[in-house]
């Protein structure tokens, strides 16, 4: 990929600045529905959440806090969870990230990684709990592979987000 060339005196369009992060989260939420993979057990990591957390940790003032609700609603519609699951869980993740920002003085790469793993464990457990309340009998260890994939995939997602962020900023 050729390096983007910044041009002096130009600012990127508002649409590109605001649209790229939101569209990337929505695309990540929709990706499991686009791929022709018939999974026998939950195998894909919660990509939408990982990209959402990635953007949030990269630029904490990128979005207003309430953005978790509309993006979470889109994720619910795509993933097949009961509507409201991701609205609730993503909002809680946003508030928790806000708390972490006030507590942590330095945030290293490893902190980001651990926050992302914590968020995905919370999201998967919450989704499982809500599914169990509605009558499913899925065992808790079912989320272990997904947690592992989330942990392994997050560094790659951070790099993809960084690339997108650079393209977004260049006029």
């Amino acid at each position: 990929m050729s390096q983007p060339i910044p041009r002096l005196g130009r600012t990127p369009s508002r649409l590109r600045m605001d649209g790229v992060p939101i569209l990337s989260v929505m695309l990540a939420s929709a990706l499991p529905n686009l791929l022709p993979v018939i999974a026998q057990s939950p195998s894909m990591p919660p990509l939408g959440l990982l990209v959402f957390v990635g953007w949030r940790l990269l630029h904490h003032e990128l979005w207003p806090l309430w953005i978790a609700a509309p993006l979470g609603a889109f994720d619910d519609v795509m993933s097949g969870n009961p509507l409201g699951t991701a609205i609730f869980l993503w909002s809680v993740v946003t508030l928790a990230a806000e708390m972490v920002d006030t507590r942590l003085f330095w945030r290293d790469y490893w902190h980001d990684w651990l926050i992302a793993i914590g968020a995905s464990i919370f999201f998967l457990l919450g989704g499982l709990l809500i599914a169990r309340i509605s009558g499913s009998r899925a065992p808790v260890e079912l989320i272990l592979p997904q947690t592992l994939w989330s942990a392994l995939l997050y560094p790659l997602i951070v790099r993809v987000i960084a690339r997108m962020d650079r393209w977004r900023m260049m006029a």
Binding site: P36, V37, M78, W106
Partner: protein, 300 residues
């Protein structure tokens, strides 16, 4: 990375109120999300329209990708099959000889069956098939097991219809959109199917375990009657699935139940058939009050 500049606005009162309001709005959103979950439980079909609508957008992409990569999922099996082709060939030859005899016997039995059913007046229209479709994607990120097929209400698919592959049962239709439908797979723990063992009609209940296997729980108390290798088929009880559709093969035994694997693995089947719900054929029960009054108008 150094600590990012905080959202905290310092002494600016207006900004402080703005920050407080944004926290309140987010907590409000979280509570609204919880309420929506409760509403989804109370009325599971209510938000199905949203999901079906979203499926309209993703289905064309998933469909075309599916056509491109058909057969991709079984690459490993094909490699293994190539490696032990020689010994497999001899074994398969023997099996074909044995099966040929059984096929002829089965043909004879089927013909006899048709004859006997005609005598009993039980003949059903043999073509229960609504449409054939391709499995294009699945709910791979959540604990519920659903798959999407690329046929919807425009092809006559309706909620509750059984879906099967030539190898066996796949599941039943849950949410229907115009050009796609979500199928609740056998392996979902909310899909409960009455089954029986083929060779001696021992009844059991098959429930998904959400990890690609099934829990086969015998109806009779006492010792577990199942052995690995037993084939289970539908009984027709409950009226959704036609009797005698292959469901699962027992692979392991547990305390009081058996673990089965679906005969039609959703990851491997290419085409599935959507069928009419079995019950639709059963005529409504005859009312006993009819003979009391002489029939005035003949029923059409």
């Amino acid at each position: 990375m150094a600590r990012p500049p905080s959202r905290r606005p310092g002494v600016n009162r207006r900004a402080q109120y703005g920050l407080f309001a944004s926290y309140v709005i987010t907590i409000g959103c979280a509570i609204a999300g919880l309420l929506l979950v409760v509403v989804s439980f109370a009325d599971p079909a209510g938000f199905a329209v949203l999901r079906a609508g979203a499926a309209e957008i993703t289905t064309p992409v998933a469909s075309s990708l599916r056509y491109m990569v058909s057969g991709f999922g079984s690459v490993d099996e094909q490699i293994v099959a190539y490696i032990d082709a020689g010994s497999q060939n001899a074994a398969l030859r023997r099996q074909v000889e044995a099966n040929r005899v059984k096929l002829i016997e089965a043909d004879a039995v089927a013909q006899e069956n048709v004859r006997l059913k005609k005598l009993l007046g039980l003949t059903q229209s043999s073509d229960d098939r609504i449409t054939t479709a391709r499995m294009i994607s699945s709910s791979s990120t959540i604990s519920r097991r659903m798959a999407r097929i690329n046929a919807g209400s425009s092809a006559g698919v309706a909620s509750g219809m059984p879906v099967r592959a030539p190898e066996g049962l796949v599941g039943r239709v849950l949410i229907v959109g115009p050009h796609s439908a979500d199928v609740l797979l056998l392996t979902d723990s909310q899909n409960i199917i009455p089954v029986r063992r083929v060779k001696d009609n021992i009844g059991a209940i098959s429930t998904g375990r959400d990890d690609g296997t099934l829990e086969i729980r015998p109806l009779s108390a006492g010792a577990n009657p199942f052995r690995p290798g037993d084939i289970l088929v539908t009984t027709g009880t409950g009226g959704v699935y036609r009797p005698n559709i292959p469901v699962a093969i027992v692979v392991a035994l547990r305390e009081g139940y058996a673990i089965g694997v679906p005969l039609a693995s959703p990851a491997r089947v290419e085409m599935v058939m959507v069928e009419r719900a079995y019950d639709a054929h059963i005529p409504p029960p005859v009312t006993q009050a009819a003979p009391a009054t002489p029939a005035k108008a003949p029923l059409p």
